[in-house]
């Protein structure tokens, strides 16, 4: 399996837990990935609202490097990164004039149809359910887990070509593999407010609050995500939201890789679970308790 790995900025910074846990479970599963050398920012959030060519050129450069190195598919764990990479690939495929412009400016050819995988696609498609299931050493049965998808993984559906955009289930399926119980709720794909986090925190708190309270209402013990931006809104803003709406949430927000890691029996510390704002101690205890019951 020749798979290029595009970490993107978040995984090297604010969401280091995502990368740490990803590498950990890959190591456990004996799967090798290779970081794209000299990768650059995908341009997420900002580029496409300012300069269209730039928004294609930035991801295209990463794809071109991967292509040059002989890769046919790329793993981009960050939902925003995978979204931008997919968008660029889509535009290059469907617009020959743009492709010429971009490859000229990059001074690199890009011809192939690189297959770009977000984290969920990678786990379900490339790794496969059977493999994951076989890795589960510590089933999380009894744990109720809400999967939060956000917008970037599934939208726009024509470009993402991933799951049902209105009712995605891939992450729930992964949750079920760990033995935990997926919790159905109403705001799986509702926007968390994304980058308004810094400019309009009120908007973010309202939107993220909607999501979190709905999850709480449906009785989940924790939330899993596959997007650094979602994670930071749900995790970092949680305290503030609790204060603003005067109602306790206490919902740890984990990356899907962390949840898998836990079920694989990996030490939570190795998965960097202690790196989150909302402490997962209670959940971890519950997991231990469940394991001891058995």
């Amino acid at each position: 399996m020749k798979l290029a790995y595009y970490p993107g900025c978040s995984l090297k910074g604010t969401s280091f837990e995502y990368e740490v846990s990803l590498l950990k479970i890959l190591e456990a599963m004996n799967i090798e990935i290779k970081e794209i050398p000299d990768w650059n920012c995908c341009g997420a959030s900002a580029a496409h609202s300012i300069n269209h060519n730039l928004s294609v050129a930035l991801p295209a450069r990463n794809l071109a490097i991967a292509e040059k190195d002989g890769y046919e598919s790329v793993l981009a764990p960050c939902a925003a990164c995978s979204n931008r990479l997919k968008n660029a690939a889509y535009e290059l495929k469907n617009d020959d004039i743009l492709k010429k412009k971009i490859t000229d400016s990059l001074e690199m050819p890009y011809d192939s149809e690189m297959s770009i995988n977000n984290m969920l696609e990678f786990l379900i498609g490339t790794v496969g359910k059977d493999k994951i299931k076989s890795m589960v050493k510590k089933p999380l049965s009894g744990l109720k887990v809400a999967s939060y998808y956000g917008c970037l993984l599934v939208r726009p559906p024509k470009v993402m070509q991933f799951d049902d955009p209105e009712n995605p289930v891939t992450m729930d399926e992964l949750v079920a593999l760990t033995g935990a119980e997926p919790v159905d709720y109403s705001f799986k794909t509702e926007c968390c407010g994304a980058i308004n986090s810094l400019s309009k925190p009120d908007v973010v708190m309202a939107l993220t609050g909607n999501v979190l309270y709905d999850i709480k209402k449906h009785g989940a013990d924790l939330v899993v995500v596959a997007c650094p931006l979602c994670h930071s809104n749900l995790d970092v803003r949680q305290r503030e939201i609790e204060r603003k709406y005067d109602e306790k949430l206490g919902l740890p927000v984990l990356f899907i890789t962390e949840l898998l890691g836990l079920s694989f029996g990996i030490d939570p510390k190795d998965l960097a679970i202690d790196g989150h704002m909302v402490a997962a101690d209670r959940v971890l205890k519950k997991i231990e308790g469940l394991a001891n019951q058995r």
């Binding site: 049902d164 955009p165 209105e166 009712n167 159905d184 109403s186 705001f187 709905d214």
Partner: protein, 660 residues
């Protein structure tokens, strides 16, 4: 040797003003084989036709050329005139020197030269004309109607009342189709079963109608006048002629849970032996073997048999194949509703109280699962607030279909109205894109729903429906006020788009009729031949053609019927003789002709010697289906197929006549 007569028409000054008609005549007389050349002021007039007929007789002509107006004008006139003198009407060719010469050119010398050319072409063509006899196809005066909804029933009744035998085939255990599932019908609010049931009974009792319910058309071959039909009568496990419809059997059936009623769109349960609804026609139950304990658990349970008075239940009945020969067919297979599960944001299937329009019809119906009391499927409570969402799937090229389903605006208005009538103090909201209410009384009806019955119409789409504390929260846009709205509803009714009945594409392939990309059968001509399919002898009716309401379905049923009665008013069906013809000696059976034929007119024919040994396979043209378009000729490498009236050697002769 050819004896050709050439007649040059002046058309008053229409031709003679620009073309030197005498010169054309003179040139015609010089052509070998032309024995008579004449010019006359108006060839189409009685004296003109008479002189034409006289010369045919006098000179014993073998072919005539008229240098005159377009063949689309008077070809038939002159063919008839020639036929009266015993000349094969296809030995008449027209050189169009009016529309193609005198009316479009000004230089007389050049126009005349062109007229001479066109005349010469036709002389060369007519020399190579072979006699063509129109093909007469005998007609089996019996019709098959596929689909027993309102359109099919109407067609069957009209045909039967015209004195012609009809076979009506229905897939379901009862006829009635979609209409019998409806409650009251817009815009007059007469109850569907009240107006439908008598028609169903009439169809069942009509001496000219043979009814096959719980049956499907398995195979169709042949052509207009002579279709061979195989009908599979599925094993009903009940002997129809003995059954009294008393109901003892289904009352005795232990399987009264778990099996969802198709008729009530999953809102209630039925037994394994069942009639789909109390007014079913015929009132004979069907035993659903896929759920019956007798079949699933080794024949022990026979409670229905024990309960049956006339002992007409027979577990050993088998599927039966019935073969019929009919002369014409009506395809009226109706429609299905789109699967709305692709609208994940609306939660259909996830939230019990998000239902389809057809389900709401059943809730409204006095014979429905709630006996006409509107109750929520989740908890049986009567809803106080209902949100109706129109265009779910329709007019949505991204996720659904781009076309308008035509009936949803009206039935939604009806639903909101009936809801207001049945639940006092209730409130309904309708999300719509446009309101399409274009038939008689429709606009007034919708207005009434808004103004008298207080339904609030919101122009915009719904983005999401989710459950919150027992309420369905409907988020949508009101584009007229420019606001986002959220409505907490007790129930949501989705006006789902209509699509062709599942399997109608397969039926179309079996029938050899064309269908559009959605699967709706296409008309022979969308405006001028709306009742005919692309294949002779097969007619269309009802929603199988495209979205339409009840009156339109009835009209289309009657239209198909009148076409069939018209067809059957003669003993033979006449087809123009200009059809394809195979040279069996040189055909190598590559069947490219068959591939390009749009009419299924080409089949394989085995040529055998006297002992029955296969010598070769060749293409064979079915004269009842061939339209003479000539696509097959073009496809044939060895030129072993040709179309009469436009033979290759004729075209070559025309080209040669133009040689410079």
């Amino acid at each position: 040797m050819s004896r050709i007569g050439v007649f040059v028409c002046w058309c008053g000054s229409n031709i003679a003003g620009t073309v030197d008609v005498e010169k054309v005549r003179e040139e015609a007389a010089k052509i070998p084989g032309v024995v008579s050349a004449l010019d006359y002021k108006y060839m189409c007039s009685d004296p003109g036709q008479n002189s034409l007929r006289n010369i045919i007789k006098e000179k014993n002509l073998t072919g005539i050329v008229l240098a005159a107006c377009s063949p689309h004008m008077h070809e038939n006139t002159f063919r008839k005139a020639a036929a009266k003198e015993g000349l094969n009407p296809y030995f008449v060719e027209i050189a169009n020197i009016r529309e193609q010469v005198s009316w479009v050119h000004e230089d007389k010398e050049r126009a005349t030269a062109k007229a001479v050319d066109l005349m010469k072409m036709m002389v060369e063509k007519v020399k190579r004309d072979r006699p063509i006899e129109d093909v007469r196809v005998p007609l089996n005066k019996k019709a098959l109607v596929i689909g027993g909804g309102i359109a099919g029933i109407q067609a069957a009744l009209d045909i039967a009342n015209g004195g012609v035998e009809v076979i009506l085939v229905e897939k379901e255990p009862s006829i009635g189709g979609r209409m019998i599932q409806l409650d009251e019908t817009f815009p007059t609010l007469d109850c569907s079963s009240c107006i439908m049931t008598p028609k169903m009974v009439e169809a069942n009792q009509h001496p000219n109608i043979k009814l096959y319910t719980y049956s499907e058309v398995e195979d169709i071959s042949g052509y207009i006048g002579n279709f061979k039909v195989k009908i599979k009568k599925k094993a009903r496990s009940v002997v129809e002629k003995d059954c009294t419809g008393c109901g003892e059997c289904w009352n005795a059936c232990p399987m009264h849970k778990n099996v969802k009623s198709e008729f009530n769109v999953n809102l209630s349960e039925r037994t394994a032996i069942y009639v789909p609804f109390p007014q079913a026609v015929p009132l004979v139950p069907v035993l659903d073997r896929s759920v019956c304990l007798h079949f699933k658990k080794g024949g022990k349970c026979q409670k229905c048999y024990d309960a049956c008075g006339p002992k007409c239940i027979n577990f050993d009945l088998q599927d039966e194949i019935i073969e019929e020969t009919v002369g014409a067919i009506v395809a009226s297979t109706g429609y299905d509703l789109m699967d709305t599960s692709m609208y994940g944001e609306y939660g259909y299937g996830k939230y019990k109280d998000v239902i389809s329009g057809l389900q709401f019809e059943r809730l409204l119906s006095a014979s429905g699962p709630t006996e006409g009391v509107i109750k929520r499927p989740s908890d049986g409570k009567t809803p106080q607030t209902i949100v109706f969402v129109q265009c779910v799937g329709s007019r949505d090229p991204e996720k659904g279909v781009p076309y308008c389903s035509k009936v949803c605006c009206m039935y939604t208005a009806k639903h909101a109205k009936l809801f207001a009538h049945k639940v006092h103090g209730s409130q309904s909201y309708v999300f719509y894109i446009d309101i399409r209410s274009t038939s008689k009384g429709y606009e007034e009806f919708v207005r009434g729903t808004m103004e008298q019955d207080g339904a609030i119409y919101l122009r915009g789409r719904v983005s999401k429906i989710y459950e919150d504390e027992g309420k369905l929260i409907v988020k949508g846009a009101d584009t007229l006020s420019g606001n986002q709205v959220e409505i907490a509803a007790d129930m949501v009714v989705l006006a789902t788009g209509v699509i062709p009945k599942k399997g109608s594409d397969k039926l179309a392939q079996m029938l050899g009729i064309s269908y559009d990309k959605y699967g709706f059968f296409t008309e022979s001509h969308p405006k001028l031949r709306p009742a005919e399919s692309s294949t002779a002898g097969i007619f269309l009716a009802g929603m199988a053609q495209g979205p339409r309401d009840i009156p339109e379905s009835v009209v289309s049923g009657s239209a198909a019927a009148s076409k069939i009665l018209g067809l059957f008013s003669k003993n033979e069906y006449e087809v123009e003789g200009t059809i394809a013809n195979v040279n069996e000696a040189t055909c190598v059976a590559c069947f490219y002709c068959q591939r390009v034929c749009a009419y299924n007119a080409i089949s394989k024919k085995e040529i055998k010697d006297r002992s029955g040994k296969l010598i070769k396979v060749v293409a064979n043209v079915n004269p009842g289906l061939c339209t003479g378009c000539g696509a097959c000729v073009n496809a044939c490498f060895s030129k072993s197929i040709d179309v009469k009236g436009f033979m290759d050697d004729q075209i070559y002769a025309e080209i040669k006549a133009l040689a410079v």
